[in-house]
């Protein structure tokens, strides 16, 4: 009897391929790209973290979340509180507690704290939200986004209200961005091959059967929710360092939509899909940004009106959902050998499954 190869041996290739691909991008951009291009690449790496974090919850549980951008907000503001020099904080953010007001931590300490802060918050609200049924849970996460935005744009003495907080050290470059992306991919991969990840995917595919096999759906969903909040909290910290300002408007509907459409375009149920969706949409956004700035044609500058970018991305998302509902990657992972659980099923089984749904 031959021994079955372990899950890790069969699937480890996916995160390695992804991380190496990102490393090549980082190196190429560092070597040949302009300053502006490097910033675009860093932004893409941060988006990869966000979307991979989103994938950990959405991809494994099959539930949609509109609230994950609030974790980005929590992480970014936490980093702002921890890293802005105390002199500046005492002028703009008078309402902070004293220990936070006098703290100034280096980036590599503040970032994990921001992630843990977001994860703790997710643990508390997740305990309530995960008890709801599928669609109701999605709507509740949308409510979460509204609450966080409401609080952060009105709590003037602690968050600076609608205005921006400035003074976060701008320490991001392509390499720190790449490390962030790699860490996110590694955590997401480890989660998806963990016992909880496998159990959660079972509930996604056949909730009744999974429940009958003794899987506690609420608990597994909560674990995924917390892990994804941690990753997105880290992304928020890096995002704050990237922009060096934070303001609540950056963490609302537009970002929620763009990240969700990145996930959908790539393929909701696979890690490779999450990463390739970000790359594809980032390229598109960059393309439309240039078109909006205008191209010179024989002395005249012809440009698209502002806002075409968003409309185009919205329409592309709808079209992809219509004609390629499993995304660009068809929900498969990059690998040399196919993922054993996603092997092509024999035709009769496929038909039977289709009729079941």
């Amino acid at each position: 009897m031959s021994q079955r190869p372990s899950v890790i041996r069969q699937t480890i290739i996916t995160p390695i391929v992804l991380i190496v691909a990102l490393l090549i991008m980082a190196a190429l951009s560092y070597q040949f790209g302009s300053r502006a291009f490097n910033r675009t690449v860093v932004e893409m790496f941060i988006n990869i973290m966000v979307v991979v974090g989103l994938y950990v919850f959405v991809g494994n549980s099959g539930l949609l979340s509109f609230g994950h951008i609030s974790f980005l907000c929590l992480g970014a503001y936490m980093t702002a509180w921890l890293t802005i020099p105390p002199v500046m904080k005492s002028i703009t953010l008078k309402g902070l507690p004293a220990w936070l007001l006098h703290a100034q931590l280096p980036m590599w300490v503040a970032t994990p704290i921001s992630g843990i802060f977001a994860a703790l918050f997710a643990l508390i609200v997740g305990r309530v939200i995960m008890r709801l049924s599928g669609i109701a849970a999605s709507i509740a996460t949308f409510g979460l986004l509204g609450v966080i935005n409401n609080v952060y744009s009105n709590w003037d003495s602690v968050t600076g209200g609608q205005g921006s907080i400035v003074g976060i050290p701008p320490t991001m470059n392509v390499w720190t961005g790449w490390i962030g992306g790699a860490v996110a991919i590694a955590i997401a991969y480890l989660y998806s091959i963990s016992r909880s990840g496998l159990a959660l995917r079972a509930t996604r595919d056949e909730a009744v059967a999974a429940s009958a096999s003794g899987i506690d759906i609420v608990r597994e969903r909560l674990i995924a929710f917390v892990v994804s909040a941690f990753i997105i909290g880290l992304a928020g910290a890096l995002y704050a360092h990237f922009l060096s300002i934070v303001n609540p408007g950056a963490f609302y509907l537009r970002t929620t939509f763009i990240t969700l459409s990145m996930l959908v375009v790539g393929g909701m149920y696979s890690l490779s899909g999450a990463v390739s969706g970000v790359v594809a949409i980032s390229v598109l956004i960059e393309l439309f940004r240039d078109l909006e700035k205008g191209i010179s044609l024989g002395g005249h500058t012809v440009g698209l009106p502002n806002g075409v970018q968003e409309i185009a991305i919205g329409i592309i998302t709808i079209v992809i959902l219509m004609y390629l509902p499993t995304g660009l990657t068809r929900n498969r992972e990059f690998s040399w050998r196919r993922w054993p659980l996603q092997r092509r099923l024999p035709r009769p089984v496929q038909t039977a499954l289709k009729e079941l749904h």
Partner: protein, 304 residues
């Protein structure tokens, strides 16, 4: 006594707004299992339909100048047309898709509408004056109630009565209720799927237009984000009311309106800006006790 009356009217008029919003969402959810995230942008679209596209700060009023007996039907038609159009162009292709896919599709549609409006009108809020006489207060048992509140409450009650009569007494209403209860079974018994769904979208679009009119009259401004707030609360109302229950959604809309007004009146001054956060906190408490919602319909129970 006078203050109490004031609070009651505030609660009823705010609740009316939320109830109309929740109704528009619950109707579509009932026939299609679609959570329409574009509803808020439908509302904003109807408001901006009264203006001529321009990016100047001063609004160029277009349809808004019409007398009310033309303006109201025109706006209702606009809402219905936009809603029906989005069904035909977008949502029809997602009939058999899973709820998550439909949600993202509607979110994407709302995003497109919102940015279309942004492109045409810029993000600056614009002032728009409709029927200033409605802002005048009327005396009622010693309390000064703005006329608009009274009108809002009357309109909402009228809409609710008409809808109840429609759903309970007419053939189309019966078909719609049957479809909401069990869509496949209803189709097998001869209910025309497309007709029922189009009807639900048309009614929902008209409700969005009604909300748009009330909001615009009340605030005197046209703002891209104005629909999103109502929609968010309307969503919460449909969840608390029990997804799929139309009376539940309406009742929960009124409840949330009442809770908001009570929080507004009783919270200390500094905490008032967080009123919505407190409302959501109350919602979470409700859901902890009854995760399936207050008025969960029997058909919503998952059968195994």
């Amino acid at each position: 006594m006078r203050e109490l009356l004031q609070i009651i009217f505030d609660a009823l008029s705010l609740g009316s707004l939320y109830a109309l919003g929740a109704l528009g969402i619950a109707l579509i959810f009932g026939v299609m299992r679609l959570v329409n995230f574009a509803h808020g942008d439908f509302i904003a679209f109807c408001v901006f339909a009264m203006l001529w596209p321009s990016i100047d700060a001063a609004a160029v009023v277009f349809a808004g100048q019409l007398p009310f007996y033309l303006l109201i039907p025109l706006l209702l038609l606009t809402g219905a047309a936009l809603s029906i159009l989005s069904e035909i162009v977008v949502f029809r292709r997602f009939r058999n898709a899973n709820p998550a896919t439909m949600m993202i599709a509607s979110f994407a549609l709302g995003f497109v509408i919102r940015h279309l409006l942004l492109m045409l009108f810029s993000s600056r809020p614009k002032s728009i004056t409709l029927w200033p006489s409605l802002g005048l207060p009327v005396e009622f048992l010693g309390a000064h109630i703005p006329m608009l509140q009274v009108v809002t409450i009357i309109i909402t009650l009228a809409v609710l009565v008409i809808l109840v009569l429609f759903l309970k007494r007419t053939r189309y209403g019966l078909e719609m209720r049957a479809a909401a209860d069990n869509f496949t079974m209803a189709r097998m018994l001869g209910v025309r799927a497309n007709g029922v769904i189009l009807l639900a979208f048309a009614i929902s679009g008209m409700l969005a237009a009604a909300i748009g009119l009330i909001l615009a009259t009340n605030s005197g401004t046209a703002d891209i984000g104005m629909g999103a707030n109502v929609m968010l609360i309307a969503f919460i109302a449909t969840v608390i009311g029990g997804l799929g229950s139309i009376p539940g959604a309406v009742a929960a809309g009124f409840l949330i309106g009442a809770a908001s007004v009570v929080f507004q009146a009783t919270l200390p001054h500094d905490a008032r800006v967080f009123r919505d956060a407190f409302v959501y906190g109350a919602v979470i408490v409700v859901l902890l006790v009854r995760p399936q919602g207050l008025f969960a319909p029997k058909s919503a129970k998952q059968r195994v």
